[in-house]
Symmetry: C2
Subunit: 189 residues, 2 copies
């Protein structure tokens, strides 16, 4: 686990063993079973989670009671509701484990004090946030510009593994299509 984290951070900055130890001593590990929620809609998100193993979804429920999935989180991703985390406002979204999921948890004040003591960690988070921004902009490019059928094939081409781990109706929700129409699309392709 220490190795996994070190390898991960070394993509962005070089942390010494000491710094990794310091980081680790400030975080906790939690395991969520399938269907458990890491964060409930309405609650303030006090933590950032780093997914060691497993899979989660970040979703919201609209006025008609339909779920809409914004994002899946897999191994080696940080996940949180950033708006709720930063402003300490109630989350409009839920984060739920879709498999048994093991995460690192770090809360806001701890993270801020770690940024003081390990500046390279703040750099890593600056870069990680930039990468998240790029990822969401890329998703938008696809989703704003393309029709359902094309969004579906983008996903098939870019993240084929997802289809083995997630039921099709959740893929549909993530693609912003009804499950019925996704079924239709798949029949004709």
């Amino acid at each position: 686990m220490k190795e996994q984290l070190k390898t991960y951070f070394n993509r962005y900055v070089s942390l010494s063993d000491n710094e990794v130890e310091n980081f680790l001593s400030n975080i906790s590990i939690k395991v969520f079973n399938k269907k458990d929620c890491l964060l409930n809609q309405g609650d303030v998100c006090h933590q950032r989670f780093f997914i060691l193993e497993g899979l989660v979804r970040f979703y919201e429920i609209d006025d008609k009671g339909n779920e809409r999935i914004d994002l899946f989180g897999v191994e080696n991703w940080w996940i949180t509701n950033l708006e709720s985390f930063i402003n300490e406002t109630p989350s409009r979204q839920t984060i739920q484990a879709l498999e048994k999921t093991k995460v690192l948890c770090i809360n806001k004040t701890t993270l801020e004090s770690l940024f003081e003591s390990i500046p390279k960690l703040e750099r890593a988070f600056r870069i990680i946030t930039e990468n998240m921004l790029i990822a969401i902009q890329r998703k938008d490019e696809v989703y704003m510009k393309q029709k359902s059928k094309e969004r579906y094939s983008s996903l098939v081409n870019n993240v084929p593994r997802l289809f083995q781990r997630v039921p099709q109706y959740m893929i549909a929700s993530y693609l912003n299509i009804t499950p019925e129409y996704l079924s239709e699309i798949r029949k004709n392709s």
Copy 2:
């Protein structure tokens, strides 16, 4: 101008006069006329721009030759093609001035060396990036979940000033609606 920048950064971190001076001595100022491009599709984006005065749009052209506006940049916003800037890959988007626009320009290596010499500046950019991420997630919430009519009224309510500065067909593009249909929506509301 120095004051504008100082006020801006002080939202996030407290920079001393010296640090602001240091920052200023490393940047340049440019003025773009209406319709000038800050960045052309196909070019690598080597700079980040801070808008002192004016208005720009960030847009791309799809396969059918239609423009799609991702984002407007107004006073006190940083704008860049982050993906192109970070990976040094050709930009799929163009950044164009919609009014006479005065910007600060800072290039990548300069910014990185400033991060070394002024750690608080890196913190400011970490926070600025987080806020951009939140803004884009909020936009997505509206755009994925809501129908055209609702997207239009969200924009009217949240950024009414935009309508005085931008032609309606660009609003339509930003809302991901055809100009004809936006016209229809406005008629019935």
